[in-house]
Symmetry: C2
DNA sequence: TGAACTTCTTGATATATGTCAAGACGAAGG
DNA sequence: CCTTCGTCTTGACATATATCAAGAAGTTCA
């Protein structure tokens, strides 16, 4: 069973039949360490699902690089708004290490509604999951200090800390690399 | 023309016919200053649209009150995840002043798909707008300091600053009331 | 192997922001 | 009308976090 299958059936509650009917729309894509899956200013033609490896989502603001998210195994990767609306991406997705993806083109994505009866429901579930993740992050910024954000994220995804440069994690948590280093020291 | 009509046609691109077909599903609701439109732990039975007045979205974390958002004229109000999934609310919506709403019950919301042909498209547009707002807020926390967040939000909604207690705005921007007061002094 | 990088840590210090306390002011209510 | 309460500001001070700088390891690559 691929990770895609496990995720789509487990997390999103697709039936086996539903999964079979969408599977053929995905195709595999390999990306080498350092290469880009998506670049700022280019059209978001693909929705990626990470089978293995880690992609980093980042953008430049006032010449400073801001890490927004990491898509590791089992996560989807794209500028969702850009993808759904057929617009240019505002973010980059770069491979932290060698990455294996299953990707769905925008054209195929738009066809799913005709091939999967429950698609409207399933798509809504997907969108609301994404929404929920962001909502929780907002709350974390409203109610936690740097140390609490570090602890919460470390509990959530400890494995990332051994695979990703820590200064990038620090950026994603809105703190300096030195601060993150000091919290780890405790 | 009601604000609901203007918003749904202007922002979401409904046709007049589409608006007419959904209008009857909404009903008006008045809320007095201080009263609640939605409370933590209760089921989210309604999606509200603010015709006039301001609602404040807030929650309690470690006994501390955290203001998450303000829904002023032209905004929707509900715990979106709770509403869509038929779950209990994690937030409160309290009236800052007397508020006039147009509300859509969960039952009616679920009926819209059968009455409006483009509903799947329109609903997706609604969800992605909400998603986009959150995404921008995340980026603001990753790339701005308190003063920059204050300035950006003040430019975005200056009128709020004259209608809402400033300490609540401070909470929403993740800073202390004193800090907000000092930024304003400049 | 050695040189050039990157990453991570640590210390010293600077700065932004939070906390505490007090007072001014206006609104709400008896 | 007075009292009380909530709001906002301001000052003094505390603290969290950022910045700057240096060095130790680990990596990459010729």
């Amino acid at each position: 069973m691929t990770n895609l299958e496990a995720s789509v059936i487990g997390t999103f509650g697709f039936s086996n039949e539903e999964f079979q009917s969408i599977q053929s729309f995905f195709k595999p894509l390999s990306i080498k360490k350092g290469e880009y899956f998506l670049e700022e200013g280019k059209y978001c033609r693909y929705l990626g699902f990470v089978e293995s490896g880690i992609l980093r989502e980042h953008m430049y603001i006032n010449e400073k690089e801001v890490t927004k998210w990491f898509s590791s195994t089992g996560y989807f990767a794209t500028d969702l708004i850009g993808f759904l609306h057929g617009e240019k991406s505002r973010v980059n997705y770069q491979a932290i290490n060698d990455v294996e993806l299953m990707v769905l083109s925008k054209d195929n994505y738009d066809l799913l509604g005709k091939h999967v009866e429950r698609w409207a429901t399933l798509e809504k579930l997907f969108l609301t999951k994404c929404f929920s993740v962001l909502e929780n992050r907002i709350v974390s910024h409203l109610s936690m200090n740097a140390e609490e954000r570090y602890k919460a994220f470390f509990e959530f995804q400890p494995s990332l800390f051994y695979q990703v440069p820590l200064h990038q994690i620090a950026s994603m948590l809105a703190m300096s690399p030195e601060t993150l280093s000091r919290m780890r020291a405790k």
